[in-house]
Structure formats: structure tokens, C-alpha cells
Symmetry: C2
Subunit: 441 residues, 2 copies
């Protein structure tokens, strides 16, 4: 290749590629979620990015088929995963005999959707999923544990106050059955889902346009406008006296979930029954969740999910009910970063940059190794640059401390530790310096 | 879709997909490498899996083009990355102005090669790379730091004793120049690279077949059979009195690397000069590394790399010399797992499974949350199963402890902690139980 005929280095649009300082923040967020999921004993899974197209598209249609990255290599028609749920369904069906149930797994990984890129939308993005899969049955108690995981995770992430909204699809479906509106239930739910965006009046107008009788529209609006505490809402639901088996089951489930969420230690201020959330149409069958950051409602739900009856019906006859949630990590990071809301524990990888005031920097090597052996992330600046350039390097990488070794320090087996934020510096023995940095970790 | 018309759940061949217990081991290995890389201050990078084909294939040809997963979506000709070096080159050229040099990055991520699958070869596999990129120049001291990173990493991985073999391409190239064999150097090096496999006699035969004069073949064989300690080898190289500038520079570089490896604290038994390693043909220009597990030479090199003059010549005029290494994680895990050599720190995610002897398990929830708040990974068994089934579940997941709450325990606010490996059990207050588990972490 001709050296003067360069190819312009660029990244495909819709693919997030961060600068190192931002990547450090992103990774901290990812690790916090991972640790929180593991805190509840979820097992890690790492399924392939590529799967057979017939597997991934067993159910899909519409948007999914249009957006999927699909190609043939040799004789194999393969696609890049567009979510982590379909690969999980395949995995559980495939490894059913070797798994222990309830099967609790998390996966934090990239998924791919070849949609038209726009601000804040990505073609490659991380999902952070947990699911609990039962073999034939799965206790409703699991539905109560999920909000406690959301709570622990978002407390850890420290993005400010948040509210987990909870509903149960059986309640909505039972209500529509009792009103003889089952045929319209999908349309009604889609409309209700928009109530925060378009307002009550507009919802009413649309429902009337569907041909629903005015008194039934009133019942629906009355129903979804239920106000008050969680217990008041539950009482209201019971007092509606709707004689429908599904409705009644939904109310009992919701009551159980609310009661047990409390036992899991989630404060009342962090969750609420919200009868307006519906979450799509045909997948969820019971409890559903959405999570909103109180100070950033414009982000929409940042963690959603619910209960489903059958994870893997396209691959196995075994009934595998489950409950799960997903955090769209890439989008969340992008939005919070735009708002300057990503909280920083530690904004550098190295805890200290060791540098020499002498031309020969090799006397830093052994000292650096002592720091590393003590668990301190340590870098040695090896280029023969001016002191100012070395400090600028540490500064740009947000490294909090520099350790200076000059002739004096070398002679006395000391190191000068300088805190770059405060400018404070002190001459310490290597061991004292190590102890100082360890005490600050 | 018809429920009785199931799609067989399967994974594309050549794609590693682990059962949870193995995945836990794999992740531990991955995390150890990551922590070791961060211990040296390397910055994380997470480039996209998909890049423009013109970027990825700027240099490639031959095998790479045949194996790459390439497709067009909309107007975009894109490919899945086949290594982490080309995306790094793109990244550094693209973000040159915003990066600090030397730019030290690691990336542990999956790469894709659509080759014919065979035992122990994968189409999707993790590479764990570090590279140090200089802006125009990069001190030879960096070449000495790399083996100290390999040393720290493989000590941490605990796969038994290992040896880092080191050579310098300038020495080989200089030797061939001094023998007027530059035109044949690629062929000679490829032959020398095989010496461990095919033996000296076969190498001699092949070299003679190339038409190299017998006395020159002797010189080459004499050269590569140099024996003794690292210092003896360096002395031998100097005493060869080869008057070639490149050769002399190579010997000086190698001498400097050996001297400074020692200052980084790498024991003499873990590294050696090996004049027979050559590592490919046209990429590396100075120091080269290979790493062998002493007890598993059949695995070949498990961590290789070297110094190169120009990382990103296809995308920028800026000279960007670098030095780096790569661990082929997926293959290494597969091979060691076959040999039962993957060492286990902790083989479960949950530290304890809390279960109830009563029908109502909800009294476990608050206790579990106390364990979690103390940093202990805790799972509650919620299904209404027999005690035996609950213990079997813990056993299958390698969870080391169970915590039993029955009527007695509930009344006295205690928990019975049972060590599943020893069978030992004791009744403790919740706080004492937490302290016990924390002391064992």
C-alpha cells in the first residue's frame, strides 16, 4: 500500500467508542451492575454474538427482521444477536438437563440492531439482563425479589432518587375481559402506555375513537387514575368488585409482590404501584416493572422487565416460566454523561504515577513493583521528558498521586508523594507511602 | 408458530458456550488478567465489534480476507474484527489529538475468524491485549516492562511454572544481512521457528535445500544453538564479532531488556533469551516474546507479542511505534480445562444459600439482605421443595455454605450455618454468621 494514500480512520455511526477517561467511567458503571447482580447469586453467562438465523428469528418478525445483521458464511445463515433473551431461551432449552432450577443468570453484553442511527440511539449497545427461570413453575416470591435487585443496583449506581413502578398484566387483562373489551385490549394498553406523554384528555379521545362506550371509557380512566399509597391502591382494586378470575389473581399477585418487596428491605419511597404501565403486548403475563430516575423523567424507563409464562416455547415443549429485567447500559451512560450525571468513584486506572527527576528512571522499577505487590495500580513514566510534561500526563489521565524519586529519595530509600488535587506533598519511606495509598483506596 | 414444530436449539460450531460452573472459572481467569493489566496502569478500551471493511482490510490479505465475517447492510460494507490490533490502530489514528502518549491500553474482547472449526480452534474467541504506543518514539525500557507484566499475570493465573522467551528481530535480520542472506531471511526464519517441532537435522536439511552454502548453514545453526545463561548468551552474541549495525543494535537492545527485566523483579528462572523465536515475518521489528507453560509445552506459546515500528501507517503519517502482547484466552481456557489445570479461587458466585425449614420462606428475606449489605453474595431458595432438593441445588452450584432458618432460629434471631464441604454446622447470631463468612473471603 502507498503510504501517502491513507484510509480515513473512522467508526461506523451508531457505534459508541469512548475516550479512555469516559471508558473508565463506563466500566465502573458496568462493574457496579455486575457486582450487584452477583450479590444476589446470579450466574454469569456469555453466549456467542453470532447465532443461527433460524434460532434468532424463530419468533421475530417486523422490525427485528429488518434491523438484524444477518449474513451467510459458507453454508451457514447466521445473525448477530439483537437481544440477550432469545439466546437465553436457546441456551436453557439446549442445556436443560445440565442446569439447576430455578436458573438464575445474568449477562451483560453487546447486542446489535441495524436501525437508522440518531442521537442517543445505538446500533451496538450493552444490555445488562437478569432472569430467573423456573422448571414448570416459579414462585411469585421471585417477582418480589426483582425490585430489591433493581433497588440495590440503582443505589449502588448513585444516579439520585429513583422509583420502581410495578403493575400486573393480569389486572389489566382481567379488567378488559370484565368490560368485554378483550379484542381491543392491545390497542387500549398501547394508548394507556402513552398517558404520561399525551395526557388524560387525549387518551380519552383515542379510546372513544376506538368505539368504546363512554361509560366504559370512564371506567378505564377511573381505574388508571387510582391515586394514593400502595396499600390504598390495593384496597381500591379489591373494592372495585370486578368478578373476573384473572383480575382477582392479578390483584393477589400484586398484593403479594408489594408485601414481600417490603420484606426485602426496599423503602416505600422507591417503589409504587402504577396501573398505567403495560410494557408491550404479548410477552409479559404477570408482574411488570419500569424504573424512572426521579430527576430525569425524560430518560423514560431505565430498567424494565416482567414475568413471562414461557421462555423457550420455540425450542422446547418444557414450560419455562421466568421473570427478568434489563438495563440498556449504553444509552443510559450516553444520556447521563450528556447531563454530567455519571458519578465517579475513581476516575483513573492508575492510583499513582512514579517518575524520576534523574535521567536514569530504572531505579523506579523496583519501587513500582513494591507498590503493585501491595495491590496499588502503579505506572512508571519512562520517557525522558521534562517534569512539567510528566505531571501533565498524570493530570490528563486523572491519576491522583505522583511519586517522585530523585537523588535524595534514592539515597534514603524514600519517595516524595504528591497529591495532584491539593498540591500537598511529603517525603515518605516506600512502605509508608504504600500504606498511605492503601488507606485512601 | 406451531408449538409442536420446534426448532432444535443449538450453537454454531466453533463458538464456545460454557455451562455456568465453567463460566465462573473462565470469568475468574479473565478478571485476573484484567486486574493484572490495570495493576500496571493500562487504560481500558472497548472498540466496536463491527468496523468498516475498508478499515479492517487496509492491510490484510490472504487468510484474513478469506476468514473475515463481512457483509453489507444498507450502503455500508462492514466486517467483524478479526483481532484487536487493527481497531487499535484505527482508534489511535482517529483520536490522536485527544490521547496522552505513551498511550497504554488494554482490551479483553472477542474477535472473529470464520475458519473451518476443529478441536481447540474457535471462530469466536477472546483476546487479552496490551499495547504501549509512543508518539514518534518509545523508550526501550517499555520492552523490559512487558515481561514483568507477563510475569505478574501468569503468577496470578497460577498455571504452574512458565518461561518467557525473548529475542530481538534486529539480531536475526542483522545476522542474515552479514551472511548476505537477506532475500532468504523470511524462509530461514520460518524454518528456524519450527526447530522445536522438527529438530535440528531437519532444519539443516531445509536450509541446505534453499541453496545456502554449508558453512553458512553451520553459522546459522551454531548461532541458534547458543546455550547457557542469559548473560552467557549475550556475551556469546558480542563475541561473534558480526560487524553489522542492525545486529549490534539488536544485541544492545536485548542486553538492555534483560538488564531491566531484572530490575522489574522478574526472577531469572522465568525468562530466557531464545534466539530461535522469530514470530511471523513483517510486523515485528525489535524485541519479541513468547511464553510457555513449563509443564504444558504442547500448548505452544500462550502469550506472545513484540515491538513494532509503526502501528497505524495505513491511517496516518504519524509514526507510532509500539510494543504489545496478546493472550488467546478462549483457546487457553479450553486447553487447560481439558487438562483439568484451571485453578479455582472460588467456584461459585453465591457465597451462601439461605433456606427455610418452614413453608413460609419470607423470613429469610431480611436476613439475606443483611448478608448482602455486608458484601456477601447471598441467594435465598424460594421454591417449596424438600430439604434434600435444596441442599442438592447448593451442591450442584458449588455454593460453599447454606444458612438454615427454622422456627428455633427465627425465634432466637439466629441462623444455622452449614459448611457443605465438611458437614460442620453451628448456630450463630446473624451478625456472627456474617462475620464468619467475611473472615473466610
Amino acid at each position: 500500500m502507498e503510504k501517502d494514500n491513507k484510509i480515513e480512520p473512522r467508526t461506523i455511526s451508531g457505534f459508541m467508542e469512548l475516550l479512555p477517561n469516559e471508558q473508565v467511567l463506563f466500566n465502573q458503571m458496568k462493574i457496579k451492575i455486575e457486582q450487584s447482580y452477583e450479590r444476589f447469586g446470579f450466574l454469569p453467562l456469555d453466549t456467542p454474538v453470532l447465532e443461527l438465523s433460524e434460532i434468532l428469528l424463530a419468533k421475530a418478525g417486523g422490525e427485528t427482521e429488518k434491523q438484524i445483521y444477518r449474513f451467510t458464511k459458507g453454508d451457514t445463515d447466521m445473525s448477530m444477536r439483537f437481544d440477550l433473551t432469545v439466546p437465553l431461551a436457546k441456551y436453557v432449552a439446549q442445556n436443560y438437563e445440565q442446569l439447576q432450577f430455578p436458573f438464575r443468570r445474568y449477562q451483560i453484553a453487546k447486542v446489535y440492531r441495524g436501525e437508522r442511527p440518531q442521537k442517543g440511539r445505538f446500533r451496538e449497545f450493552y444490555q445488562a439482563d437478569i432472569d430467573i427461570i423456573g422448571d414448570g413453575e416459579l414462585s411469585i416470591l421471585n417477582d418480589a425479589e426483582i425490585p430489591s435487585i433493581i433497588y440495590t443496583t440503582f443505589k449502588e449506581l448513585d444516579f439520585g432518587e429513583f422509583t420502581i413502578r410495578i403493575n400486573n398484566r393480569k389486572i389489566l387483562n382481567g379488567l378488559f375481559k370484565s368490560l368485554n373489551l378483550v379484542a381491543l385490549s392491545a390497542d387500549i394498553m398501547r394508548t394507556i402506555d402513552k398517558i404520561e406523554k399525551i395526557g388524560v384528555d387525549k387518551v380519552k379521545e383515542i379510546l372513544l375513537d376506538f368505539g368504546i362506550a363512554s361509560n366504559e371509557v370512564s371506567k378505564i380512566l377511573n381505574f388508571i387514575s387510582i391515586n394514593g399509597s400502595n396499600d390504598e391502591k390495593l384496597l381500591f382494586l379489591k373494592n372495585l368488585n370486578i368478578k373476573d378470575e384473572m383480575f382477582e389473581k392479578g390483584v393477589l399477585e400484586l398484593e403479594s409482590v408489594v408485601k414481600n418487596i417490603r420484606l426485602f428491605g426496599v423503602p416505600e419511597s422507591n417503589f409504587m404501584i402504577d396501573l398505567t404501565i403495560a410494557r408491550g403486548l404479548d410477552y409479559y403475563t404477570g408482574t411488570i416493572y419500569e424504573t424512572f430516575l426521579n430527576d430525569c423523567p425524560q430518560l423514560g424507563s431505565v430498567c424494565s422487565g416482567g414475568r413471562y409464562d414461557n421462555l423457550a416455547e420455540y425450542y422446547t415443549d418444557k414450560p419455562l416460566p421466568g421473570v427478568g429485567i434489563s438495563i440498556g447500559l449504553t444509552r443510559l451512560f450516553y444520556q447521563l454523561n450528556e447531563l454530567n450525571l455519571v458519578k465517579v468513584g475513581k476516575s483513573s486506572i492508575a492510583d499513582i504515577l512514579i517518575l524520576s527527576t534523574m535521567e536514569d528512571v530504572t531505579q523506579c522499577f523496583g519501587v513500582a513493583q513494591e507498590f503493585r505487590n501491595a495491590g496499588i495500580n502503579t505506572e512508571v513514566y519512562m520517557d525522558n521528558k521534562k517534569m512539567k510534561a510528566k505531571i501533565k500526563y498524570a493530570d490528563k489521565l486523572n491519576i491522583p498521586f505522583i511519586g517522585i524519586i530523585g537523588e535524595e529519595e534514592q539515597k534514603n530509600k524514600n519517595i516524595t508523594i504528591k497529591n495532584l488535587a491539593t498540591g500537598e506533598q511529603q517525603v515518605l519511606s516506600v512502605q509508608d507511602a504504600i500504606n498511605l495509598l492503601k488507606s485512601l483506596k
